[in-house]
Structures are given as structure tokens and as C-alpha cells.
Symmetry: C2
Subunit: 226 residues, 2 copies
DNA sequence: GAATTAAATTGAACGTGTTCAAATTCGTTG
DNA sequence: CAACGAATTTGAACACGTTCAATTTAATTC
């Protein structure tokens, strides 16, 4: 819907209406929270009728997803640039994860709403669902980059699963962030720092013989759920 | 509201109406799922007007919470009984975890709805919130029992954190179960079996020298978030 | 440039969860 | 037992997210 119609340039008029609705919704979500912002009010602020919002967005939740998708691409370019230098794995992972939290910080109310609906498997914005596959793949690819450009050698059997595993780890941190009531979510940042140490240490340990049976079990498990 | 009014016995008439509404809601939630069961239909099946449901329950979600509260105590006592025999750690953990899934199985649709509200940090039934501390502590104590009665020796520094860690692991499995669309949730059971192998292996490995720095880091992290 | 097709926009209407003033039931009191 | 008041029950009404037939606007075709 409204994907570039291919006629003229990029159908500027409609594109602008869509942008106005999205912008109005983000404002209201962050002002009042997801539940207390009404579609009627969003449409009114964007200067269109109620139904227009549904012409451009499938649902109220879809507005949040549009924001999420937009911020993911922004993240993409941001991280790609920052990832250009340095080979230290911990620093590279921190770039991605802390970068994401920086982005999240400004839209906490909105993202809490996102996660609440996202947790429902039937929701189109479930982070594990089909509809968000593109976003998820892009995020996972970022971790693959971080690994590839680093000086750490991941065992061959584990390597193909590692990006997905790191993405899952990040999701866990985000879940913690949702619950984190500490000022500026410093608890999350502390957890990120400390757990990142462990994660990197674990990756480096993975290649040594005593870890072999554990690693094999892990790989077998990961393969079964690919 | 409607807590024992203290006059006569337990105000049998009202109590029965309340029970009828709760029963009707559980039926409909499991028949159609949370979203497709309407309050009007629930009230109709219970033989009362729509508003009556709101006299006894604060909201539609509160109906799910009422079920959760009722079934929670049953869960604990059941698992405790089964834990009486055997010293194999893996078997003991499996008793707790698989036991929980057995009880979950009958009310899958309903529990999915529950989780949706529970994930909201502001919800009174958030599994990480203050209001559910007693339930959570009981569940964690169950894992402490499983460890204590087993033949596996957990390193002293790690031991006090282990029950909470296992509870967290169980929460992860439950999250997976929520999403698991496979028949009879066999994927969850496969994941439980395989990951349980890894968990037990990791616990047994934890005491060996090469793991010491990693273990220390883990303990430090756990201590910071106690 | 008129006719035709597609895109964009409208706002009333539907079914929902929830609220609430009014009506009813019921135990208690005088 | 009459009367009072609290507990219970009712169903219309409200605001919401969402849908959709109808209308307007823009683009394309001949």
C-alpha cells in the first residue's frame, strides 16, 4: 500500500500526508502514551479525517511499527558508519547495543507500548513474527558485521548461529530496559557493560577443548531451531 | 470489592454469581481466545447483564488474573510433592519445568492473554513486580529445593544466585512456549530437553579452574542485581 | 480536453470495553 | 412487618479502534 507507485517521482502529496500522520502519532504517543492517544486526535492533528489514517496505516499499532522500522534503518546507517573502525569485539558489540539504547531513550513511552503489543504472538509487530522478518534480519546482519570485522575467531560450527544468538541477547537486554525504572536506565547500561564482558569472554573460551561438549550441545540445539 | 462482607457466612448468592461469571469467561476465553470473547457474551452466558461482570471484576483482563491467582497455589503444591524422590539434578529440574507446562497446557489461549498483560511493567501481575513477589519467591524456592536435594555441588560463590538464575531460565522457556505453535508445543519440550542438558552441564563445569574468571564475572553481575 | 480509471479522502456507522444513574433485591432494624 | 439502606443488577450511553460506501481529487487515455 502506497509503495512507490512508479508513475511520477514518489507521489509527493500522498507521501507527505503519510508523513504528517506518522509524525502526529509519534508526538501524541510520547505526550500521552499509546493508550491515551486516540486515532481521532492523531488524524485531527495531522489535518485529515479519521479514515485517512487507516488508508496509510493498517492499525494504531502499525503506526508504532512504522516508527520502529524507520528507526531500524536509521540505526543501520548509524552503526555501519561507527563500525568502520576498530577490531575489538567488545567495542563493536557495544557500538550496536548502546547505539540502539541511545535511539530508544527519546521514545521510551512509545517503545513500552510497542513491546506490550509485540509480545502477543498474533500481533503483526511481534519481533519473532513473519511481518517483521526484514527488520529482524537487518538487525542480525549488523551483528554478523560486528563479528566479521573483529579479531576474534569464532569456532566454525558455532559461527553461523552467533549473529542470531547475539540478537537474542540484545532482545533480552531490551526487555530489561523496558522494566528498568532507574534514572536514565543506568541499571540497563550497567547490565549491558557487565554482561557484555561475559559474552565476549564466553565467545573467546568457546574454542578451547574443555568447552567442546558444551559447544556441541549448543550448536545442536541452535541447529534444531533454525 | 466483594471480599467477604463479614455479615453472614460468605454471602453465598453473590459469591455464586461471581463464580458463574468467572466460569463463563474461562469457557469463552478457551473457546474463542481472549480478544474474540466479548464481555456481553460472557455476561449473557452467566445469565446476567453486562454491567454485572464489572461489578465483580474490574476489567476483562481482571477475569484472567482471577484465574491466575486461583491456579497459582495449585501449581506450587503439585510440584513440591513430586520433588520428594531422586537426586539427579536434571530429573529434578525437569520435574518442576515440565510440571509447569503440563498445568499450562489446558489453558493455553488464556495464558497467552495473561502474558500479554503481565509483560506490562505497570500491570499488577507483572512477574517481576512487587505485587507478585510472594509467588515469585515460592517458585524460586522450588528451584532451591531441587538443587539442595541433588547430588550436584554448586560452587559456593554461585550457589546463592543459582535458584534465581534457574527461575529466569524457566521464564525464558515459558516465553518460548507462548510463541510455540507446534502441535502440543513439542518444540518447547524439545527445547526444554536440550537446553536442560546444557544447563546441567554448565553447572557441573562451573567449578573447574578454566571457568573461574567467567564464573567470577557472572557472580559479580548477579550480585549487582540482587 | 473530455472521458475514464485510479488514488486519496471523508465521515457516518459498527462492535467493542467500560461507566453509571437508576431500578431492584435483600438483610437488618425499629 | 414496615421501612430503611446497602448490596446487587440492569441496560442505555460513552469513547474508542476500525470499516466502508460514498465522494472528491489526481492521473491517464483517447
Amino acid at each position: 500500500m502506497s509503495r512507490n507507485p512508479g508513475r511520477q517521482r514518489s507521489s509527493s502529496k500522498a507521501e507527505e500526508t503519510r508523513a504528517r500522520i506518522l509524525e502526529a502519532s509519534l508526538e501524541l504517543f510520547n505526550e500521552r502514551g499509546f493508550d491515551d492517544a486516540t486515532m481521532r486526535e492523531i488524524a485531527a492533528r495531522a489535518g485529515v479525517a479519521t479514515g485517512a489514517a487507516y488508508y496509510y496505516f493498517a492499525s494504531k499499532e502499525d503506526l508504532v511499527m512504522a516508527f520502529y522500522r524507520a528507526s531500524q534503518t536509521e540505526m543501520q546507517t548509524m552503526a555501519a558508519a561507527r563500525l568502520a573502525t576498530g577490531t575489538d569485539l567488545r567495542a563493536r558489540l557495544d557500538t550496536i547495543i548502546s547505539g540502539k539504547f541511545e535511539q530508544f531513550a527519546a521514545n521510551r513511552l512509545l517503545l513500552r507500548a510497542l513491546f506490550r503489543t509485540a509480545i502477543d504472538p498474533d500481533s503483526p509487530i511481534s519481533p519473532f513474527g513473519d511481518a517483521t522478518a526484514d527488520i529482524r534480519d537487518a538487525a542480525i546482519a549488523l551483528f554478523a558485521d560486528a563479528l566479521d570485522g573483529s579479531d576474534v575467531r569464532v569456532p566454525k560450527d558455532l559461527a553461523p548461529h552467533m549473529p542470531r544468538l547475539l540478537w537474542l541477547y540484545q532482545m533480552g537486554l531490551i526487555l530489561f530496559w523496558i522494566y528498568d525504572r532507574s534514572e536514565n536506565q543506568q541499571k540497563t547500561h550497567l547490565l549491558t557493560a557487565k554482561s557484555l564482558d561475559m559474552v565476549v569472554r564466553l565467545i573467546k573460551l568457546a574454542k578451547f577443548p574443555p568447552m567442546r561438549p558444551l559447544r556441541k550441545a549448543a550448536v545442536e540445539l541452535l541447529a534444531a531451531f533454525a
